[in-house]
Assembly symmetry: C2
Homo-oligomer: 153 residues x 2
Amino acid sequence: MTDSDIPWLDEQEMHLWRRWLRVETELPAALGRALGQTSDLSMQDFETLVRLSESPEHRLRISALAEQMHWERSRLSHHLRRMSARGLVDKQDCKEDGRGSFVALTEAGMAALEQAAPDHVRAVRALFLDGATEDEKVVLGRVLDRVLERVAD
Amino acid sequence: MTDSDIPWLDEQEMHLWRRWLRVETELPAALGRALGQTSDLSMQDFETLVRLSESPEHRLRISALAEQMHWERSRLSHHLRRMSARGLVDKQDCKEDGRGSFVALTEAGMAALEQAAPDHVRAVRALFLDGATEDEKVVLGRVLDRVLERVAD
DNA sequence: ATCACTTACTTGACACGTCATTCAGATCGG
DNA sequence: CCGATCTGAATGACGTGTCAAGTAAGTGAT
């Protein structure tokens, strides 16, 4: 089998694909670095805290949180154990279902989120959102939607 | 400090940002799963093999490869050790510089690449490239370029 | 009530990435 | 030359993610 038998990408496609791959790795890396400089939170910590802060009573069933974040349960379980050890969240058992648990934001978690959020939001704007005009954002959103459909489990 | 003091994202921005985050994690996951079903290669293995196959004599200095791939040297070092143990690549020392090394594709590595490539390329098209029209690809490329500039080290 | 099945979550082993460190071999100033 | 420094690469410790297995509690049929 020679190269010509492979339905390879042409130059345009390859260029677009490789730029995608680079952004996919470097954007979160840059945002993570920025976030780490003004807080002790990772992007994952931040996202977790945001989801909780948006929830009634600042708490959620663990599986509900996992579903919202599109995380595997075991990943979330590991992560919450670490965040809990750092005092950012708190696990509470669930009266209605003896198997289940809630996770709740602690005071410290809320404080960490509020302290970190402004810089992080600024960074998301500076590195990502401001990179596209309004029209381009519309196109980008459309493309992302289609990719998500194709990827959907 | 209350929520209103935080320069949060509006609904449009948040929606776009979260879709981006989802695609950023789920697209590589889906491609990795697909690749894993028809080969024993990860996306990282594949990318490494492609770079080598595109190089003269199918080999490169390790630091050159790291630079091409935008990988940290130690990451590449770890990865090449594993790939080498699986017989996909081969390390050779460099006459001109006693510190340096080359990595070369093995026969098995080339065979694995050629076997995996068609399906992988099809998957990249099906999940990503076909999600955008030609016009949208132009826009997407422009946006990715701008984001890369902003992220650039 | 009991036994099988499902659900909610945890755990442990392992793969990968990062960071700091190490080490040999270049390179360069004196 | 020779010591200081730099460079290419490997290594070890550690954090995080995945997958498979485990535990405990709910559900449901008989």
